[in-house]
């Protein structure tokens, strides 16, 4: 054939055939890449979930609505519930004094968010994500240390508490993670006491019904729950969006 006589035309055809190959591979690539991205699971909005528990004083093993008055003060035990996903545990802590709203700084970004303070009959109940913001350790490795337990903390954490406790904020216990030593101040929106964490714990916004004394989880604010693309994705939703059970995990 005479094809070789006109190399530019031949080159033009080569380019066109090559481009249609690129089109095919492009379409293929789009499909494969989009397919390989695992579809997200979780929720699209925060549910309002009532907190239940098995009242340890009643002798009845069926979960009943948790009343703010029944929760023990500054408990040595770790009180946990899952919300809004079944792999997102949260602490619930009741202090002996009301907790006032505070501004909390996310050291990693410099952003500040408003922690709502306590709820309940005496405005003394707070709740935080129980997944450490440093590298994701979960209870019982991370847990609440009431002030009576400060002696069990590492010396540098004790020193930090002593030096930062200028106005008595740290007289109510700390949340400390035994994985790598991050410490948070639960009285001030789980703000950072010691590194290595550069993010406070996400705060759960609780709703309190003063007539019934019941508690509800409404949403999370602050940093995103560790290890999740968003607070609402990265796990299955809790089985019953209306109801989650607070349970006791013993620290050891």
């Amino acid at each position: 054939m005479s094809g070789e006589q006109d190399p530019s035309r031949r080159g033009f055809l080569k380019v066109l055939v090559g481009l249609s190959a690129v089109a095919a591979v492009g379409g293929l690539g789009k499909g494969v890449v989009q397919n390989l991205v695992t579809p997200a699971v979780g929720l699209t909005s925060f549910p309002e979930t009532q907190l239940y528990w098995v009242n340890p004083n009643s002798g009845n093993s069926a979960p009943v609505p948790l009343k703010s008055g029944d929760l023990p003060f500054e408990s040595f035990h770790i009180w946990i519930y899952y919300y809004p996903l079944s792999d997102e545990p949260n602490f619930i802590i009741k202090f002996k004094e009301p907790v006032s709203p505070s501004k909390v700084t996310i050291d990693a970004t410099g952003q500040v968010f408003s922690s709502p303070g306590g709820v309940g009959k005496n405005n003394d109940i707070v709740s935080f994500s129980a997944i450490c913001q440093h590298l994701g350790c979960i209870p019982p490795v991370i847990h609440y240390y009431p002030p009576s337990d400060y002696s069990a903390l590492p010396a540098n954490v004790q020193a930090a508490i002593k030096s930062q406790n200028t106005n008595g904020d740290l007289n109510h216990g700390v949340i400390h993670c035994n994985c790598h030593g991050s410490t948070y101040n639960p009285f001030k929106g789980a703000g950072i006491v010691t590194h290595p964490t550069y993010r406070p714990l996400p705060n759960v916004i609780l709703k309190y019904d003063p007539i019934t004394d019941y508690l509800y989880a409404k949403k999370l604010i602050g940093p995103v729950v560790f290890g999740h693309p968003s607070d609402l994705t990265g796990g299955n939703a809790i089985t019953n969006l209306k109801k989650t059970t607070v349970f006791k995990m013993s620290s050891s």
Partner: protein
Amino acid sequence: MGIKESINNLKNVISVKNVLGEDPLRINELPLTTVPDYMRKKGGFWYWTGALISMAFVYQIVTGLILLLYYDPANAYNSTEYILRDVPYGEIILTTHLYGAYAMIVLIYLHMFRNYFNGAYKRPRELQWVTGVILLALTIGVGYFGYSMTGDVLSADATDVGRGIALSVPVLGSMSEAIVFGNGTDTSLFIRMLGFHIILAALIGALFGFHFYLAEANGMMPSQRKVNYKAPAVEKSSPEHKPWYPYNMLFMIQLAAFAFGIMIFLPSVIDAMRVIHMGVPPIFDPFPQVSPSSPEAAFVPPYPPWFLLFVYKAVDFKMFNAFGAYSALMASVVFGGIPLIYFILVPFIDRSNNLHPLSRPFFTAFGVLAIIYLVLLSAWGVLAPGIPISTSDVVIVLVPPFIIVMAFFYALNALYKKGAFKPSLSKITASFVIFLMILSLAIFEFAMQIGNVMHGVTTGSALNLGAYGAATAFAAFGTVKSSEYAHLSMSQPREVKGLNISIRAAQAIISVLFIISAEILWLMIQVNPLNLEQEAAFGIGLGALLIIFGIGLRVYRLVYYNE
């Protein structure tokens, strides 16, 4: 320096050839067999059935590995539905994996019978043939396990039947059942199905490597005339052949573009039909059926995968009832195991050095009969599922084709020996198409008549049955004969004129194709990958893009390589 010069300079700088040299991947130094030109020209398809199988296999591995990222044996049915409906493009991946398996099985049969009728199993290719037959068995096995993985009602039927057959194996029954099907829990079952699906696929990969090595080492099978219809027929690489790169490489890319294009295009069309409720017969339904626990499960006919239909029908034959608990096992052995063993052993039974199909009438007739029985039993299985068949009916259906085919081939053999039989290609092709159409109709009518006979034998129904049976056998025989002659005459070396178009026409075709593919890509980009309808459209578009690329390459080869 003018603009033209600087453009040329730039071209020289960015040209791959100038930077890396000719054949930068050193492909021509690989020990790949080169082939004569006629194998790449029009009608060369028949020389590349093996290549097409390996392309289908590659497609299966890639889509299978993607599915592996989503499949959950502890939730087999739910995860299958999840892949289908909630994973982007999951519908395309899942259904083309299914149809890719079908394509692979069909192509293996095509490859096998082509080589069977050509006597390619004769020396020096005995082991190549044996591994090929084992590869067929492994592929059907891998298909069975894959089919059983969906967790739908059909997969439950398939695993129950498999369990039953495994349990009925004398002495080793419960052991073999526990090996293949686990401890009886669903999770154990589907972990085994997944495991064996992958294990068999890996075995296919390994054995294919060996098969391919033997094919390269034995050299390709030349036209029979070239070796005067006598084994050993061997053609090694020769300096007369064009080099592998770029000629054969471009041809392989073109073949792959067509193969993958069709493997994505066709199932997507069927998906689209399925999604818009245009009725797809359940045996070819690309989607999983309902879950076995669903109340609708009772309405799903208990079909096995179509490639096992022939054994499924044989289980209904009353003659196997004599074996009591072993009846299903015996049916599988007689209609599955014995043919398999025959095909494995045929190179050691047929020791003559005759290659021409008419010079070995017994073996050719046997191959034709194998095809007829395969089609007949499968069609019977679809049209009369689960209906018990009396021994006399089995004889009526299976014996006449045997007598007709054997007699016919011995008669043709006599003609051939006298040198009086010389068909021409165009006549054969035409008759093939006609025969194929008659065959489809005849098989259907025949099966209906079988149903009538089942309901009451009268002179009329018996006569009808006989008439349609004869028509079916005749048409099947004609189909196979003419197709066989078609590739026989194609395998003769000759100057293939092929198509011939001007470079200007090529340029126009390729430009139009390019514009079409850009437009298809533009439409594909806007698809919602979770909408079943749009996903099917995406698959159709993707298949079309690949096919268009293949056509472009075909035109390019035509004008510049004269192939």
